[in-house]
């Protein structure tokens, strides 16, 4: 038996070239110099975070630092120079180097009949693409004319010492704005793991990040909730000021999930437990949480919560009405990770409950009264984390004749190679196939070095820009459901295209794109002769009940 040292967090630093001198210089920078290093635990020292969780980046004037809509996993600290944040409505997608989402016409779709090479899949006309790539580089796919941008858009300039991108990094949300370097700039990119530790152990960073969130996003978020929508601005201000931010679980849940061979552990400490005293309304800002109630010797999932859901309102309302002995009737626990806003009870008493004309709906009781086996599909979907999908490919095996027409249809709309495998996990007569689910929390996007995998801005589908994909496999390794495949590409003669330096085949990430460019929607659904294949979102619980 051979042995290796246990893998550690900083085995692979963010930047291999970060030197001790760089670290010393960075620690002297005001944003770090003010931090009390003694507050950091021995195993996660401040110096270690700077050394291993950050990297120095140099940008030329007009270079795009982050693109609006990209999913980020890092924040940036401006060290030298200035950058400009482009405010809404932002830059057009064509300037940001993304593929366009224009649908094909009927003729273009039809021409795939003879353009597809079924004998040679994944053909790329590489010479033409190389020229196109070279010319687009010259034209500036990631370079923009900064003067023109400033003329046509509202921008905010950020100078040395300013931080940006922290909200998207911590919440794994999309970047809310595009940031462009104004001048030759040096930026420190801090990956979210390090940012999380800085926020956790340093009050200054925590306060800075929370203040930014409060100023920019919290009031908007609260205002979108029907409970707070009608509040006057000053009351909303008070609610925002009293609201607490909490994060539970692990942001890299996909790594742990994959390690456990794709099944969600139920041994997770709850955020609040059944029987607890309700002290505030829990609003889910991101991620998922499971709502459970104790039954026999286990926990029964009554439902799950995702962004926009809340928990505990009914109990708080009944407490306000003076009912005695009120406690929470269910527990909630993070599924992977969850970002929660806790609105304290006293705030609800002061600003919300007096304005409620009707008591809140009690859905939990109804859920608990359902026959036990009714929930098995939901329990399974939660355990397997299929609830993350918005376009999950489900096959009704009681109808499917295994003809593979869906696979052939996919291949004939994607250059002769299908983008999914008609195989996957099964529950009862349902199969969730290995096809991209276009997740609510697309962890595959985290870490893509080129932004090739992104959400299509028009349709919201998670798609890959083949031209900017460098075949690094980060997305394929991150996908918790193994729904991204790496494929070797070929020239029109059928020869594999190889790297000229190493001779190794060039790989491209390949996955279902929901036929976002095809007229008529996903070919797999249209091709199924028995209506056995459907694309569903587990979020639509009513539909789930229908499916059951």
């Amino acid at each position: 038996m051979s042995s290796i040292p246990r893998p550690q967090r900083w085995d692979r630093p963010f930047d291999e070239n970060m030197s001790d001198d760089d670290v010393a210089r960075l620690l002297a920078f005001p944003a770090f110099a003010d931090i009390d290093a003694a507050r950091f635990p021995d195993q996660i020292p401040l110096e270690g975070i700077v050394h291993n969780d950050s990297r120095l980046l140099h940008f030329a004037p007009g270079e795009v630092v982050v693109r609006e809509g990209d999913y980020g996993n890092s924040a940036f600290l401006v060290l030298e120079g200035t950058v400009s944040v482009v405010l809404a409505p932002g830059l057009p997608a064509s300037m940001l180097g993304r593929s366009s989402s224009r649908k094909r016409g009927f003729a273009s779709a039809f021409s795939q009949l003879w353009r597809n090479r079924n004998d040679v899949p994944e053909v790329r006309v590489y010479e033409r693409r190389s020229q196109a790539a070279a010319s687009s580089q010259a034209a500036g796919v990631t370079m923009v004319d900064i003067a023109a941008v400033k003329q046509g858009n509202s921008t905010v300039q950020l100078g040395s010492g300013r931080i940006f991108g922290e909200i998207a990094a911590l919440a794994r949300g999309p970047r809310t704005a595009t940031v462009i370097a104004d001048s030759n700039s040096v930026l420190l990119e801090i990956r979210w793991q390090g940012l999380r530790e800085l926020r956790r152990f340093d009050a200054g960073w925590r306060e800075r990040i929370d203040r930014t969130y409060r100023a920019n996003a919290l009031k908007v978020h609260l205002g979108e909730d029907p409970l707070f929508a009608g509040l006057p601005p000053e009351a909303l201000e008070k609610v925002a000021a009293a609201t607490l931010f909490e994060t539970y679980g692990s942001l890299d849940w996909n790594v742990q999930f994959k390690r456990k061979s794709g099944s969600e552990s139920r041994d997770v400490p709850p955020i609040v437990a059944e029987g607890d005293y309700p002290d505030g309304l829990l609003m889910i800002r991101g991620g998922f949480a499971r709502v459970t109630r104790h039954i026999g010797n286990g926990e029964r999932s009554l439902t799950y919560l995702s962004a926009g859901s809340s928990f505990g309102l009914d109990e708080l309302y009944r407490m306000w009405r003076g009912e005695p002995g009120i406690s929470l009737r269910a527990s909630i626990a993070p599924l992977g990770y969850v970002d929660v806003l806790r609105v304290p009870y006293f705030i609800l008493v002061e600003h919300v409950f007096p304005n409620l004309t009707q008591p809140p709906q009690d859905n939990l009781h109804e859920a608990y009264e359902r026959p036990l086996t009714d929930d098995s599909l939901m329990e399974w979907a939660i355990d397997e984390r299929f609830i993350n999908g918005t376009r999950t490919m489900m096959i009704d095996l009681d109808r499917c004749v295994r003809c593979d027409d869906c696979v052939r249809a996919c291949a004939s709309t994607h250059g002769g190679n299908p983008r999914f495998v008609r195989h996957g996990k099964q529950h009862d007569h349902w199969m969730v196939t290995n096809a991209c689910m276009h997740c609510i929390d697309p962890v595959c996007m985290i870490g893509c070095p080129t932004g090739a995998i992104h959400r299509d801005q028009a349709t919201g589908m998670v798609v890959i820009n083949d031209e900017s994909c460098i075949g690094c496999q980060t997305c394929a390794n991150s996908c918790p459901y193994d729904n991204i495949r790496m494929v070797e590409i070929r020239n029109p003669l059928g020869d594999i295209i190889a790297d000229s330096a190493t001779g190794r085949p060039i790989l491209k990430a390949s996955k279902c794109d929901f036929c976002y460019e095809q007229p008529g929607g996903p070919a797999c659904v249209r091709a199924c002769p028995h209506d056995a294949l459907s694309r569903n979102s587990f979020a639509e619980l009513a539909k789930l009940a229908e499916l059951r």
């Binding site: 009927f106 779709a109 095996l397 027409d405 004939s412 659904v525 091709a527 028995h530």
Partner: protein
């Protein structure tokens, strides 16, 4: 029901209604032309040909999955409904179950198409649930690879057993009997009918030698039993999926054969009879 669902339900209803109307119109024309001592076979023949060509277009639809020409399931529904209509129109047209001459070949091909279609329809309704109930899903094309992988693991286990125990029982059993069983899907017909022959064959052999096994050998035999259980599922999946594919091997060629003879029939009718 969603709007889309309602629309599709309405489409299916319209299909049914259209089929009834088509049959009624053909029946009326047939009757009126017969009363007028005309040739209703000409009208019914052309209607029949048009219907058969439309039925054959389903295969073209399958090749055109990249263009929005309707959902395949709607095409299949139309195919089934029109297939039934074609039987009625054929009865009006032919007026004989066993015609003579080359028309007998035409009739036989027609019956082959209809019969294989009906069998296929029933199979597609019943077989998927049997496959789903296996609880073990395997892609047809992957079956040889699955079996090869299984054989590899079994042979590794047998070798390990021989090395660990020095006993010849399991290696001999594998060489003499089980290698044949695990080489490819076996007991296809029995698996199709569900007699359990595959399962009893392999378990009988494992039971027969169980009295010679001790200690570690029992562990390896247990692994063999587990593989045998999976093999039984694979045999059944192979049989059912094979049947789901086989009926098309009759239906589609018979359709093309029928269309070729129809062409010949058309030429003869228009050159010599009309």
């Amino acid at each position: 029901m969603t709007f889309q669902g309602s629309l599709r339900f309405a489409l299916r209803m319209a299909l049914g209604a259209g089929a009834v109307v088509l049959v009624a119109v053909v029946a009326l024309i047939d009757r009126s032309q017969r009363l007028d001592l005309l040739h209703p076979e000409l009208v019914t023949g052309w209607v029949l040909l048009a219907a058969v060509v439309f039925l054959a277009l389903l295969n073209v639809r399958k090749k055109l999955s990249m263009v929005p020409v309707g959902r395949a399931s709607d095409w299949v529904a139309a195919h089934v409904v029109l297939g039934v209509v074609v039987i009625v129109i054929y009865a009006f047209h032919a007026r004989a179950i066993w015609p003579s001459g080359y028309e007998l070949a035409l009739a036989l091909l027609f019956y082959a198409v209809i019969l294989s279609g009906l069998i296929g329809y029933l199979l597609q309704r019943m077989a998927p649930a049997s496959l789903a109930n296996l609880g073990y899903e395997v892609i047809w094309e992957r079956i040889p690879a699955e079996l090869a992988d299984m054989r590899e693991r079994i042979e590794a286990s047998i070798l390990e057993c021989a090395r660990e125990t020095g006993s010849e029982v399991l290696p001999r059993l594998y060489r003499e009997e089980l290698a044949w069983y695990f080489r490819r899907p076996r007991f296809v017909l029995a698996s199709l009918v569900g007699t359990g022959a595959s399962s009893s064959w392999v378990h009988h052999r494992l039971d027969s030698v169980s009295i010679y096994l001790r200690g570690k050998e029992i562990e390896h035999a247990t692994f063999l039993r587990e593989c045998a259980r999976r093999k039984v599922h694979i045999d059944r999946a192979y049989a059912i999926q094979g049947l789901l594919k086989c009926w098309l091997l009759v239906h589609v060629p018979a359709t093309y054969g029928f269309l070729v003879l129809v062409l010949w029939h058309l030429i003869l009718v228009h050159v010599y009879l009309v």
